[in-house]
């Protein structure tokens, strides 16, 4: 008999989410719904009315896993709004910092999925390798960003500091030193992933990919007019499977409606459909990688660690330690919508900001990677046994606190007023 399976909260991911799966007699998922139940912080609202320089500092707190990405997206959006052209060295430093973060964050994800793939006899060694890789990547984040978590030196107009020649050499030595280990680790992870007995089509879906660049992010490669954010209730309300049993049919409709009211993230559509963003999307668009599904995502993510480490080595040679890293600019508002697009570990991170003519932030909006992925993730669980659904979710490395938006609750009835959902 058909039934609804609920897994809540889903595990080994950042934040809290629920998987609600309608399954048939064989346990095959017919409708997969994944939604965020992480409480909202209201970060985008908090920056309104503040001076522009507060925004990167505040919005980087959106997430402790991905602060580099949010800081970069924020300064990029504000630079764009204020029409600031940042010095070349600052641009290189920003990209290096992001790539170090990419290596670090993907390595963290390998901690999370290690229990799914890594055989117990290799576990200790793999964890040791991950720790070593993270250590070297964090060194690069620290010295360039000022702080690995919540970087202090990524600023509107450039970077607060250049690095010394000594630091430049150290980055080279350290990344050159660790790249062999990364390659070995990636080879090992690839072997484990390939050996895993998953259904052939696990995680496959027909949704398009969203990616804007190979290693940094580009506002030129995304069109704001193609984006449409819809309320979760209108997305989830008709996400259920038609049932013959009338009583159950009633129940499934009710469940879908309830999910629409509980979910705390909006549903962004690109060209009117959900997309997949992240390492596989980038690999698909920029690295000729055509596979789809859970294994493909893991393989693309692992490969991307090498891609990013190589990019750091390419960029570090271009650093001129004596160059200026801050643009000269007057902080004058333009009332222009600035766009910041960063390819974070989990995908395309889009921040938009407007600085009013009197010099305060008047508009701020983020669509972060996991928000893009949420509707697609549910769909990707469909067609296979529900036992595999958590594996599908983990392949996206979701980060829910980033993705959460604000809900408005009626004080009296405690009813969630979805129509009034505040865009944060």
């Amino acid at each position: 008999m058909s039934k609804t399976i609920t897994i809540s909260p889903t595990s080994r991911q950042e934040g809290h989410a629920t998987l609600s799966l309608e399954v048939d007699d064989e346990g095959i998922v017919t409708t997969g719904r994944y939604y965020s139940i992480t409480p909202v912080r209201g970060i985008e609202k908090m920056v309104i009315g503040k001076r522009p320089e507060s925004a990167p500092v505040i919005v980087q707190r959106i997430c402790g896993v991905c602060p580099v990405t949010h800081t970069l997206a924020s300064v990029e959006a504000i630079d764009d709004s204020l029409k600031i052209e940042i010095p070349k060295t600052a641009q290189i430093l920003r990209e290096m910092c992001l790539n170090a973060h990419m290596v670090n964050s993907h390595a963290i994800h390998h901690f999370l999925v290690a229990p799914d793939f890594v055989p117990s006899e290799d576990y200790k060694q793999v964890v040791k390798n991950i720790s070593e890789i993270r250590k070297q990547a964090q060194f690069v984040e620290d010295v360039i960003g000022g702080e690995g978590i919540h970087p202090s030196d990524i600023r509107i107009g450039g970077m607060a500091h250049n690095i010394t020649k000594n630091t430049k050499n150290k980055i080279k030595t350290r990344i050159n030193g660790v790249i062999k280990l990364i390659e070995q680790h990636v080879e090992q992870m690839t072997k484990y992933v390939e050996a895993k007995e998953f259904p052939e089509d696990l995680g496959k879906h027909a949704q398009p990919v969203l990616a804007t660049s190979n290693t940094y992010g580009s506002r030129q490669n995304i069109s704001l007019s193609s984006i449409n954010e819809i309320m979760p209730n209108s997305w989830y309300a008709d996400k259920y499977t038609s049932q013959e049993d009338e009583e159950f049919a009633e129940e499934t409709k009710k469940t879908a409606k309830k999910i629409g009211k509980t979910a705390c993230s909006q549903i962004p559509l690109y060209d009117n459909t959900p997309v997949e963003t992240g390492p596989r999307a980038r690999a698909n668009k920029y690295r000729k990688f055509k596979d789809v599904g859970v294994k493909a995502q893991h393989l693309a993510r692992a490969q991307e660690m090498i891609n990013s480490a190589e990019r750091i080595l390419e960029l570090v040679d271009k650093i001129d330690p004596s160059a200026q890293t801050m643009a000269k600019f007057n902080l004058e508002g333009t009332d222009r919508l600035g766009v910041g697009v960063i390819e974070g570990p989990r995908g395309t991170n889009l921040h938009t900001a407007k600085i009013s003519s009197d010099g305060f932030i008047s508009e701020y909006n983020c669509i972060v990677p996991t928000t893009w992925n949420i509707p697609t993730m549910g769909m990707a669980t469909e067609g296979n046994h529900y036992d595999y659904a958590p594996d599908v979710i983990r392949a996206y490395d979701p980060c829910l606190s980033c993705a959460t938006h604000m809900i408005v609750v009626d004080d009296e009835s405690k009813e969630v007023l979805k129509e009034d959902m505040v865009q944060l």
């Binding site: 010295v143 000022g146 690995g148 978590i149 030196d153 000594n166 150290k170």
Partner: protein
């Protein structure tokens, strides 16, 4: 380790000076700090150090991250005004990429570093990189305006003409290329920074090693070996001929003097601390009647 509430925990006290004439030329006393920082750099114990470098105005130092012998040498000599060396520690681990930082500081700065290490708030990947803490003795320090007042009003010259300043034998000496003015220390009272009124540490009790001129002949220094890091650095430096050692004077103008000055500082400052606490001020020190030994620095 000798537990000593007057001079702080230590392993040994010795009298020494640097053998390198170039170091001695510009050093304040025995050139110990400069010689040992250079030695630690050459031996890879540190990969750079924070020192009091030149600021925008003469005799107004600014902390710099020195990664070469030349830079360390250029920053030798005492500047009798505050130099916020701790402010550079984090940056030293960031854009400078240092992993084994050396530092030099007055006792209060050394206390600050130890506090940073104990409560590393906002100091991720910083405190584990502090490799060496050199302490210098300190009775008090002066705001830059006070220093200017001494130079301009008492010595009747300008800061740029001063070649050396030194406090010894109860006087502050201000030397230009053709003149020397000695101001009795008594006359400098009231000009020191107010925090010094509550400071009980004369000999940088929490450093790896500390040194000063008191207790040694002119041009020499009294070194207090404290932690194993400090002790082995000094032992090796002596063995490698970087420092030369003479017999320590235990008498009236030697260690007795050092103990007397350290004790007097503690007693005097404890009175100030008690007074401040009595009127309800927040002073991060313990009242004497709650201490078993009032000389204890806490």
């Amino acid at each position: 380790m000798i537990q000593d509430s007057v001079l702080g925990p230590h392993q040994e006290i010795l009298t020494a000076r640097a053998t390198d004439k170039k170091i001695l030329k510009n050093a304040q006393d025995g050139g110990i700090v400069t010689a040992l920082l250079v030695y630690a750099l050459e031996k890879n114990i540190i990969d750079g150090t924070i020192v009091a470098g030149d600021g925008n105005e003469p005799w107004k130092p600014e902390p710099i991250v020195a990664t070469t012998k030349k830079e360390i040498l250029k920053s030798s000599g005492t500047k009798y005004t505050m130099c916020p060396n701790l402010a550079m520690i984090k940056e030293a681990t960031r854009s400078y990429g240092l992993e084994k930082i050396g530092t030099v500081g007055t006792p209060c700065q050394v206390m600050g570093i130890r506090k940073m290490q104990t409560y590393p708030m906002g100091l991720r990947h910083v405190t584990d990189k502090i490799a060496l803490i050199a302490g210098i003795y300190c009775m008090e320090n002066f705001p830059y305006d006070s220093l200017k007042a001494f130079i301009q009003d008492k010595a009747e010259t300008v800061p740029s003409k001063v070649v050396k300043m030194d406090i010894s034998k109860g006087k502050l000496f201000i030397r230009t290329s053709d003149n020397e003015t000695a101001i009795p220390i008594k006359e400098t009272h009231g000009y020191e920074q107010s925090g010094c009124q509550y400071c009980m540490d004369y000999v940088a009790e929490l450093s790896d090693f500390s040194c000063g001129s008191v207790g040694a002949k002119e041009g020499w220094s009294t070194i207090i070996k404290r932690t194993d890091t400090g002790a082995s650095l000094i032992d090796n430096a002596v063995e490698d001929g970087v420092l030369e050692v003479v017999e320590t004077n235990e008498g009236k103008f030697g260690l007795e003097m050092l103990r007397k000055l350290a004790t007097n500082k503690k007693k005097k400052r404890q009175k100030n601390i008690d007074k401040a606490l009595d009127i309800g001020l927040e002073v991060p020190f313990t009242k004497s009647d709650l201490k078993e030994d009032i000389l204890e620095n806490r």
